[in-house]
């Protein structure tokens, strides 16, 4: 499927999707959003480009990016799970670190749940990217 409209749109949409997805990921703990939703949007950003192009135009990627996303996400998740083990003997125990921000009146709260969410985000991206990538490859997407 070669669509000029989609191709042009994807040029604009791709960075937009990325920004939105990261924004949704980071606010997810307090507002609608989170790893799953962010990951779905970022995954869409990754596949929208290939979807709009001819098969010959898709460059064969040397590195296995989907696998990197997938395994990176899993590693982050397991790491965040394991951190609790060292401090309190409980796997997946949430650990938080509060950093007061100097200029505005707020504190930045970083914790293993955030790390976990980022892991989910990466895994979902890898999942979508992996599936679509291999399907497009299989069917010589045109």
């Amino acid at each position: 499927m070669s669509s000029v409209i989609l191709k042009m749109a994807s040029i604009v949409l791709r960075p937009l999707f990325w920004v939105i997805s990261i924004w949704l990921l980071l606010r997810g703990h307090n507002h609608p959003g989170g790893g799953f939703i962010g990951g779905l949007i970022a995954g869409s950003a990754l596949i929208i480009g290939p979807l709009s192009r001819e098969a010959e135009e898709i460059k064969l990627e040397k590195k296995n990016y989907p696998l990197l996303f997938l395994s990176g996400g899993m590693i982050l998740i397991l790491l965040s799970a394991a951190l609790g083990l060292f401090t309190s003997d409980l796997m997946l125990e949430g650990l938080w670190m509060k950093i007061p921000l100097p200029l505005v009146d707020a504190t930045l709260k970083l914790g293993t749940p955030l790390m976990f969410d980022v892991g989910v985000y990466l895994t979902v991206i890898g999942f979508i990217y992996f599936i679509f990538n291999s399907m497009m490859e299989e069917w010589q997407w045109k």
Binding site: K109, L114, S134
Partner: protein
């Protein structure tokens, strides 16, 4: 103490990473681990004499009563010493023996894992923990028996051993669980206190039988004995270690350990001596007619295990003492003999005693070692075996009720043992003809050091038995039997009944040996006629029967038509569901109509129409797009009813689903009308029944009486403990993060599955 088990498991891992420069010393290096533990155990003896026990206790899964409770007392000490002591020599021996085998790395891992599990078994003070180690020894034994897995009969023997012992293990587990239910604990110490109430409980007999099932199968008692000769397919170090000195004694250990809990009853003193006595006699008798050196040893091992079981079953102080001494005696001489058999196998290329001979002149050191062990096996002075046999006779004579039978059985099997000992000694070492495949020569140092020390141990302990009795047997006996009694081990007891029996035994054995040319053919004929029941064949037949039965009925039930499977599942579920719904009168639930909102009804209508489109459309594209409409409709419903995250996710996923379908759709077959009108109507009927049932369920769902929902906790604590305002997200990444972890794993597996499926042809 827990460290010592850990060390062995760690050694198993370490054994893989020994640098290649040190490879020639591998056996020596690895043997340092058990040797170190052996020395550590020796140093605990004074402390044990003062305090009685050494223990550590950590909770592991307190919910089910499983604790990492390890306890070293006199009884454990005997076994632990045997395991680590013999284990170190076995490693040295194996180092030489296993050269030329493939995958020796694995061999050491298995062996060390076994050693660790066996040590864990005898140190466990918690029945569930004991069971875990018990099964671990079974599995490592399976791996070791099947070490030469390229041969068909080796695999078969390994599986047979695994099935028999695992079956017994499961029986034992159910016995343990029942015991746990009766006594309310899995700690053996606490059970001892409740012994009398357990014995009088109605479940006592089932418990005893189930646990005995485990002990009997592990310790190769009749009628489970057949796996042990099969296990001789393992390399000789394994036979020497697992299948004579240690693992097969696990059943004996268990019964000795549980004697204060379950023992001293009619049932105990009937069942165990009966089976033990039968095993003792059958083992000794069958040993006579074997030709394979290792098979002879295997059957004498069975006989010895029977003797031990018998002694435990007699359940007097004297018999326990006899059991403990005989245990050490047997481990020492049988370990030696198996290792000698392995050396002979290596040097001559055969284990057939009809071919062997003259080895006394060619392998003098091995011969001396073997003769010492054989003396012990025959129960002759000055070996420890003599003391062992004397005490056994004494215990037999003093058996309550059935002393006559027990003593007779004991004497007969001992006569056989004497015969077998003389027979092996003569045939293998002194006979003048030799037809082996290789020209034998004396073995290297590695091959005789281990068995040599073990055999010497038998001699030294025989000459100075006092130390053994004072330091080792006495504390152990205190564990099995509450009363302390004074034990004096002596080589010379004076002229009494026991001595006369010993003399008689010796003379009988010699006489039988002299008559061997007449007797062996006779026994073989008798065997053919009466004992031609091959238990292992029966066992294999039984397994085959089960397989055939399973295949037969699978063909009928598993017909292979997916939609009929589904139909059955749907109909059964719907029938049961409807029954319940009608019983509880779901139509009486109040559903106020005035709450109905116009938006929702509109969305519901859109969803219904789109669904109908999907069902009826002949175009694939239409079907998929209307399915997308259904999904968006559901997303709107989520949005209306306060589920923002859900709505977003549903929208995104629905979009991706449509995209992926559009990607694939033209690669997939067109819709075809495969079913007849009648079957369509039938399926529609089934679908309506299921759908109606689900509607009923959905209506009822809100009206269930539940306890305080857990959601309240989440709502309350999300900002305070989870530091987040979006409660759904806090649940996902914090409160129920383990669930999410599982779900993400599913995603990963699905992705890998898709890739694997699509790339299956291109490699």
């Amino acid at each position: 103490m827990e460290l010592s088990i850990g060390i062995l498991f760690a050694a198993a891992v370490l054994s893989l990473s020994i640098p290649s420069r040190l490879r020639p010393l591998k056996g020596w290096i690895l043997s340092l681990f058990p040797l170190g533990i052996f020395i550590f155990l020796l140093t605990t003896i004074p402390e044990l004499q003062n305090n009685g026990v050494l223990e550590t206790n950590r909770s592991w899964m307190p919910g089910i009563g499983l604790n990492l409770h390890l306890l070293l007392d006199g009884l454990s000490l005997i076994f632990a010493l045997l395991i680590t002591g013999i284990g170190s020599f076995i490693l040295i021996y194996a180092h030489q023996y296993m050269q030329g085998y493939a995958h020796t790395n694995r061999f050491y891992v298995y062996l060390l894992v076994f050693m660790g599990s066996m040590l864990g078994l005898v140190l466990s003070a918690n029945l569930l923990l004991l069971f875990i180690f018990w099964e671990l020894t079974g599995i490592s034994s399976f791996l070791l028996i099947g070490f030469k897995h390229k041969e068909e009969n080796v695999r078969q023997s390994a599986i047979q051993a695994l099935l028999v012992t695992a079956f017994g293990g499961l029986m034992m587990l159910s016995g343990f669980v029942m015991l746990g239910l009766v006594s309310g604990t899995y700690e053996i110490n606490q059970m001892i206190g409740q012994s009398s109430s357990i014995i009088n409980h109605g479940w006592y007999l089932p418990i005893l039988i189930l646990i005995l099932g485990g002990a009997f199968s592990k310790s190769a008692q009749f009628p489970f004995h057949f796996w042990l000769p099969g296990a001789m397919q393992a390399p000789s170090p394994v036979s020497a270690f697992l299948h004579s000195a240690t693992m097969v004694k696990a059943g004996i250990y268990l019964m000795a350990r549980l004697n204060p809990v379950l023992g001293n009853t009619m049932e105990w003193q009937t069942i165990i001596p009966l089976i033990g006595g039968a095993t003792m006699l059958i083992g000794a008798y069958l040993a006579l007619t074997q030709k394979d050196l290792k098979a002879i040893l295997a059957y004498t091992t069975i006989s010895a295990l029977g003797t031990l079981m018998l002694l435990i079953g007699i359940d007097t102080e004297l018999s326990m003492k006899a059991a403990l001494i005989y245990l050490i005696v047997h481990a020492l001489y049988k370990g030696t003999l198996f290792m000698v058999a392995g050396s002979i196998d290596k040097k001559t290329g055969t284990r057939n005693i009809d071919l062997l001979g003259t080895l006394a002149y060619r392998m003098p050191i091995t011969t001396v070692v073997a003769l010492l062990a054989l003396l012990s096996m025959a129960g002759l002075p000055p070996m420890l075996g003599f003391i062992g046999k004397e005490i056994i006779y004494e215990a037999n004579i003093q058996t309550p009720n059935v002393a006559g039978i027990v003593t007779t059985l004991g004497v007969i099997s001992n006569i056989f043992m004497v015969w077998v000992s003389i027979f092996i000694g003569y045939r293998v070492f002194f006979r003048k003809s030799y037809q082996g495949y290789k020209t034998p020569s004396e073995t290297s140092f590695h091959f005789w050091i281990g068995p040599g020390i073990l055999a010497l141990g038998g001699l030294i302990l025989g000459l100075f038995p006092y130390q053994l009795g004072e330091n080792i047997i006495q504390p152990a006996l205190g564990v099995i039997q509450a009363e302390q009694l004074d034990i004096k081990l002596k080589l010379w007891h004076g002229f009494n009944r026991v001595f006369l029996l010993s003399m008689f035994t010796l003379l009988g054995g010699v006489a039988l040996f002299l008559l061997r040319h007449q007797l062996i053919p006779f026994f073989r004929r008798v065997n053919k006629k009466f004992f031609d029941v091959r238990f292992s064949d029966m066992f294999t037949g039984f397994i085959d029967g089960i397989m055939a039965f399973a295949k037969g009925h699978t063909k009928v039930i598993q017909h292979g038509y997916q939609r009929f499977y589904l139909m059955v599942i749907f109909l059964v579920v719907a029938a049961m569901g409807w029954f319940q719904l009608i019983n509880t009168r779901f139509w009486e639930i109040e559903m106020p109509v005035q709450q109905v909102s116009v938006y929702t009804v509109l969305i519901a209508l859109v969803i219904t129409v789109a669904t109908l489109f999907t069902l009826l459309s002949r175009s694939r594209l239409t079907a998929i797009i209307s399915m997308g409409v259904v999904g968006y409709g559901i997303a709107l419903i989520y949005l209306i009813y306060s589920a923002v995250d859900l709505a977003i996710t549903q929208l995104l996923v629905e979009t991706l689903t449509v995209v992926i379908f559009v990607l694939v759709i033209f690669k997939l077959p067109r819709f075809a009308s495969l079913s007849s009108r009648a079957s369509k109507l039938r399926d529609a009927g089934i679908a309506l029944i299921v759908g109606g049932f689900m509607t009923g369920i959905a209506m009822k769902a809100k009206h269930l009486e539940l306890k305080e929902p857990i959601s309240d906790f989440f709502v309350k604590n999300a900002p305070g403990k989870g530091f987040g305002d979006n409660i759904v997200n806090v649940i996902l990444v914090d409160f129920r993060a383990l669930d999410t972890l599982g779900e993400v794993t599913v995603l990963m597996i699905a992705a890998l599955g898709v890739v694997a499926l699509l790339k299956i042809d291109r490699s």
